[in-house]
Amino acid sequence: MDSSGLGVRRAVGFVAPALVLIGIFLVFPALWTLYIGITNYQLTGPAAANPQVVGLDNVIEAVRDPLFTNSVWLTALFVLFSAVIGQNVLGFVLAWLLRSVSPWLRRTTEGLVLLSWILPSTVVAFLWFAVLSRDTGTLGLLLGSPETSWLVQYPMTSLIIFNVWRGTAFSMLLYTSALAAVPPSQLETARLMGASGWQTVRDVVFPHIRGHVLTNTLLISLWTANDFTPFLLTSGGPNHQSEVLPVLIYRQALEGGQLGYASAMSMLLLVGNLAIALVYLRLLRRRA
């Protein structure tokens, strides 16, 4: 077993520095969220110096707060349309189509898709301002309606389309490697039997990649639900119409100074993340 000759003690020494850092900057904040979430802690004022424990009041208040329920709903729409449907489908379609094109077209397309994934988010925000802004925006010029201010009039739709552009690369990469594992002989048989493209995908390809679809859907859902980039595009506006959870938490905590209340919302987001991750790990284990 221990081919390295490390021994348990030295091995623990190798793992410890990483665990200390994870403990301080990840585990402790996560647990502390639970504590701050049951206090009335604020950034300034009397409750800043001397926060009082208020129990589950914050959680109850959040659930009744129209801003919070609105935000949960918007986050659900954002995840469903931009990740579960948008990135998933476009990522698969790209992986599927790019198998049969010339290498340079394949490289160009993959390169552009990957670039949209790795460019810094603040830069990407400007790229999309240039597409969606009023008067000079590219989309307005293309559609002949330069007076439309897309981010103001259709904030959620804009964010969803933006996020499909931003995140499809991961799904494309994952499905490309998944499709490589589908036996070519089965695809050939399907073709000889006259199956259409859709029939081939449904009956031959899908059974092979079901696990990948699951992995992909859950990962991109988690990332999308926790994405802070919408803040850079719309800051949650206009009038809370695109205020997804990460943006709401930021605005409550740092702009409103309601640290306790915002922590309670973070706690609910953490619980949501945990639920998705546990479902995923359980499904994964059942398949193994």
Binding site: V15, I22, F28, L94, L112, I118, P120, T138, L173
Partner: protein, 273 residues
Amino acid sequence: MSPLWIVRRIGFYVLITVVLAFFAVPMLWLASAPFDAKPGLGLRWPDWTLDNVATTFEHPYTLTSLVNSLVLCVIATVVTTVLAALAAYALSRVRIPGRDLLLYLLLLLSSVVTGTAAMVPIFVMMLQLGLINSQFGTALVIAGGMLPAAIFILKDFMDAVPRSYEESARVFGASPRQVLAHVVLPVARPGVATIFVWAFVNAWGNFLLPFLLLRDVGQQPAAVLLRTLYDEGGSANLTVIPVFSLLYSIPVVVLYLFVSKRYGFRFHGGIKS
């Protein structure tokens, strides 16, 4: 060559073209606006000029912020890569008590506890520790967030390094340290390089944590300064923003080209089906 076949071919290429345009059009701004005499938030054929570049370098904070980005990114990336490599190697080779539980928890942590979900306690913690405006502190927070995933991915690479290499090295009397430095790391280099690039790109683009934790403009990285330039508004900054966006994007693009040339942009292992 039936008519149906031709129609389908045409449809196929129309689809590819539309997708290509969808991904390419937003990026054209990065090629045109920096060199336009009157840059704006929109796409147009530029009045070519290089004046914007000079204006950008004259701005008091552009160069500082790029240096800050580099400092932040190098600390976070090196800490992540080194600690993750050590931990992944030990976890791959030695059955430490509770190892499987630890790996399970790392997998959960890396997906569940995100910077956005934990931003309030992280902010409060750094505030109370007096580490607001500390680049080193911010870099450690970023590294802490990346470590679980980095360990997890690297462990897959380490598992793939044949143990027989280490055993032969030990037969010839190499110490564990020598085995790691001269046998395992060279073989696992693609994995380490992957994590290095992944961590660098993540840390370079990270906006939320520096935005929360570095309030002093002299300490802020490019990600935050770019946002500040926008929030301030004004026509002067529209000459700075495009060039600055381009400069700030270059390292990521260069790394991408390097990786795709050297290793190919593919998933190797690590993806469970």
